[in-house]
Point group: C2
Chain length 371, copies 2
């Protein structure tokens, strides 16, 4: 285990081989070494995304830039976009859509809950102009995994040609997702989540239907233009100078993951998530997310009564080297979050649970004493 | 010297301390370690940019994303933008402006030449609606350094409130530039050029005048929104997950550069550029750029008659480990380029010049034999 037990839901700790890869010197990004690197990364991503027909492009940007690319590449001004939000990152997609001039209908679900396909059907029926629907697969801010397959099927049944856009930033590679089989046209992911790599790269899988839409979309796009990225990738390049070091890291992370196997990775995440939830329950900590949809990559829990979130996180960090995340937006000061995606094993979660036990006992003792 | 003598005009080789920094494990990007890292990087950038009043923001993107941020943050649809292009990267800025809906007037100068302030004055006189002017400081594709101070002064004399935008991607930190003293409102730079760091970060200096313009600009901006970046930086964060590893590298590179000193860095670049030009002249290679404006960071030269550019670059790489760049666009197959910015000393250029001598003699011998 590293000196610090970084258990935020991204960035995630880096395995030794990834750190070694990061330390490699530069190469010409228009030369044969980078072309081979890019090809191996794209192949690995297609393996992780489980796609054959869909393309995957790599953008030098963080996840939010990836989300922006969804809007800029698929929509034209005034087109109707349904953003089905279950938390902070769904909300962000709504903001981007509005900033770029889409007509956004935003569904908001109570934080901690998943989307119900019936809600989607009702919303689509009410607006026949919605031809683009956005879902968050795994909402990092609330620790909820949406039933994406059912949601996509509900859209597809009612509106066969609609474009389905998915934020898979904290799900792809950690949680089963099959964009082709499920009919998800576009799925964005981010290197700092389950990929055992640092932040700075976003990945986007793109269906033939999405390419057709891209060709006629008129929102302004240049840096994030998927078409330019695909065309350059065909000749082993990126249109703009890529973050070469992060490609080295991605390559090293993908090699580790391919050695582990996709099913094994999914099972590990599911097992460690259950282990975390069970451990929190043993500590009498109340889980935040609806248990039927609890995320395999991030666990959220209510702060116990009388426990100050900021003080708890600081104590965990300073006394135990355990770094957790607080709540975002309205959930700030109410919940805390434990990330368990990417390069993580049970030992790290044992350390988290023990540190929590010590600090919560200490807080509760203080809280009782103060009464 | 590293195994490969990477002499493209970016990415540039990484010093050992930068490579060590890249190998560091992740930290929470919303925690105190990252806040300290960000503050040191911003302080170092302000030192390199020689600015006190202007802000500097850091974006996780490559240089082209930085250029896009200039358009998105300063313009509104239909506003007139003068793009004074002297090569491929000026041309790119014109493209971005058109894609985003600005009314672009593009001046094109014959490749290899610099801009003449008189041309700018004439163009501005012809269109009183131009309130935004873009210059490339150092054109990486042609190896030309524009007389930026004179150009900015010419604009300012005629149109005092105009916004002056500068592509300083291959100039800032390697070549003297004083955004405040020269009246350059916005200057963008890229981490893979003179900064001794890998690609993936763009830096933007922003004047008070540019902030006023930003507040009323209506082109769509979200990921590249400077205002969000500045607001987050005030609390030691970035609005979106930053490429943490690249910030480590930037910090390490800045420490080396501060130890060397700004004047010393400028002098080293000027000296090595002259050394390269002299060495090429000794080899009877004709320089491409107008000698009055030859770049301190990249030297361009005509391929000698009968020499195939691709074959020359391949021979240099395979037989000598020397990696140079060819021409871009219309200059492909006509010129070659030698980068000498960032972490570079005379020994690397001696190796380039010797390798060139060997391979050019060999090509010329073949060329003579073939007659």
């Amino acid at each position: 285990m590293a000196a610090q037990n970084l258990r935020t839901p991204g960035p995630t700790p880096l395995p030794p081989s990834v750190r070694e890869a990061l330390a490699r010197d530069m190469v010409n990004h228009r030369g044969p070494e980078f072309a081979a690197l890019l090809r191996e990364c794209v192949d690995g991503l297609k393996w992780a995304y489980q796609v054959a027909e869909h393309d995957v492009v790599i953008l030098t940007t963080s996840g939010t830039g990836g989300l922006e690319s969804l809007v800029a590449n698929t929509l034209s001004p005034g087109e109707h976009l349904l953003v089905a939000s279950i938390g902070n990152f769904g909300e962000r997609m709504g903001q981007i859509g509005r900033v770029f001039g889409a007509h956004v209908t935003q569904l908001d679900v109570e934080p901690g809950h998943a989307l119900d396909p019936e809600m989607i059907v009702d919303t689509l029926r009410a607006d026949p102009d919605i031809q683009t629907v956005f879902f968050t697969h795994n909402e990092t801010s609330t620790g909820v995994l949406n039933p994406l397959r059912d949601l996509a099927a509900a859209v597809r049944a009612l509106r066969p040609d609609a474009l389905i856009l998915v934020d898979g930033i904290s799900s792809v590679i950690s949680v089963p997702i099959e964009p082709e089989a499920w009919g998800c046209d576009v799925v964005v992911a981010g290197s700092q989540k389950g990929w055992m790599a640092p932040p700075g790269l976003a990945f986007v899988s793109i269906s033939p239907r999405a390419w057709q839409r891209q060709a006629r979309s008129t929102l302004p796009k240049f840096y994030f233009d998927w078409q330019l990225a695909r065309r350059s990738a065909d000749s082993g390049e990126t249109p703009w100078t890529p973050a070469v070091s992060l490609f080295y890291a991605l390559q090293a992370g993908l090699r580790l993951m391919r050695a582990e196997g996709l099913e094994q990775i999914f099972a590990r995440h599911e097992r460690l998530a259950q282990y975390t939830r069970d451990g929190l329950a043993d500590l009498q900590v109340r889980l935040f997310a609806d248990p039927r949809f609890a995320s395999p990559t991030v666990t959220t829990a209510w702060l116990p009564d009388g426990v100050n979130g900021k003080a708890l996180l600081t104590a965990l960090d300073e006394r135990h080297g355990v770094v957790l995340a607080g709540g975002q937006g309205n959930l700030s000061g109410k919940i805390f979050r434990i990330g368990h995606m990417g390069w993580v094993e049970q030992a790290e979660l044992d350390a988290v649970l023990h540190a929590l036990q010590v600090e919560l006992n200490s807080s509760r003792a203080t809280s009782v004493a103060a009464r």
